[in-house]
């Protein structure tokens, strides 16, 4: 989980020393679009579980991703119960963002998230999909987030499924 936070922070915090203000960078600039309603709002990513050595309790991490028309909000929460309720806030990261749409022939539309601090480069590609969730034993609507090749999945409610930490080792 730490790796994910570090990754997010480093990604969001890094911008070229020679920044371009308000204009577009190298590649053909796609027009900014409004993120559709079905993408907007709160999504939950499961961060995995670790053991708290102090009082032998498991620590579940949940990341709340809030996609808004002009802003992106990432909140990291922890809880001791597998139902992922009673979350305690740990930290938040917020960034003004713009979205662009990408349509590839034969594929459903996907959206790129461009944080203002990344100078026209995209943080992630968002797409809608359905994935099988073991704890519910059924397929659930999910947001597929492509972080430079790494895929993470977010759900409309906190689910103990598709943990992110396994990707980062």
């Amino acid at each position: 989980m730490n790796k994910l936070i570090k990754g997010c922070l480093l990604v969001l915090a890094s911008f070229s020393f020679f920044a371009v203000v308000g204009t577009t960078t190298g590649q053909a600039a796609s027009k900014t679009v409004a993120l559709p309603k079905s993408y907007r709002g709160t999504w939950y990513l499961y961060g995995g579980v670790s053991m708290d050595s102090a009082n032998k309790l498991p620590v579940f991490t949940v990341v709340r991703l809030k996609l808004q028309s002009k802003k992106l909000n990432l909140g990291v929460y922890t809880t001791n119960t597998p139902d992922l309720k009673s979350q305690a806030w740990q930290l938040s990261i917020a960034s003004p963002v713009t979205y662009t749409k990408r349509i590839k022939k034969g594929h459903p539309a996907v959206y790129r998230v461009l944080p203002r601090s990344m100078e026209g480069e995209s943080l992630a590609i968002l797409g809608k999909t359905k994935v099988k969730v073991k704890v519910l034993n059924k397929r659930v609507k999910a947001l597929r987030i492509n972080l430079d090749g790494d895929l993470v999945y977010a759900f409309r409610r906190p689910l103990q499924s598709h943990a992110m930490d396994t990707l980062l080792d």
Binding site: L10, A13, A54, N55, T78
Partner: protein, 162 residues
């Protein structure tokens, strides 16, 4: 933002998540042995000047970070401005962290997840010849000087992340 947020990023990467324990006492758990509340003269908004940069064809940009110290957290926001007076800022990124404070030798020690993050101490610093109240902050080894107003002085520089 770069300096403050990046050092916080490095910090978080090294913090074991196990340090964030039982939700009911999540706040208590990340406290040092005796946590104190920041006095009015320390808490609230301070500004750290990063520096400026210029690329051919675009105007010179000035980067400033706003640090908001509160009883249980620290919020850092980075802004860019087109002038050295640092007015008309546009927000770029913000990060909000749990923070606890401990009184120590005339200032405070900052703690996050049971780990010492840095220190705070009020001081005076000269800006354009005039003495101003300042806050000397050390964050993960990095020394910063913050002021109550956004001033283009005491630049801390940028992190070049490879």
């Amino acid at each position: 933002m770069k300096k403050v947020i990046t050092s916080l990023a490095v910090l978080l990467a090294s913090v074991s998540l196990a340090g964030l324990s039982d939700t009911a006492t999540a706040h208590a758990a990340s406290q040092p042995s005796k946590s104190a509340t920041l006095t009015k003269s320390y808490r609230g908004t301070w500004y750290v000047y990063d520096g400026s940069f210029k690329e051919a064809g675009s105007p010179r940009l000035y980067s400033v970070e706003k640090l908001q110290f509160a009883s249980h957290h620290l919020k850092v926001t980075q802004y860019l401005s087109k002038n050295s007076a640092l007015t008309g800022r546009t927000e770029r990124l913000s990060a909000n962290f749990q923070m606890r404070y401990q009184k120590r030798s005339g200032g405070y020690v900052m703690w996050t997840n049971k780990q010492k993050v840095g220190t705070l101490k009020r001081a005076k610093a000269k800006v354009h010849g005039k003495s101003m109240t300042a806050l000397k902050v050390t964050m993960q080894g990095t020394k910063l000087t913050a002021f109550r107003r956004a001033v283009a002085s005491h630049a801390v520089g940028f992190y070049q992340l490879s």
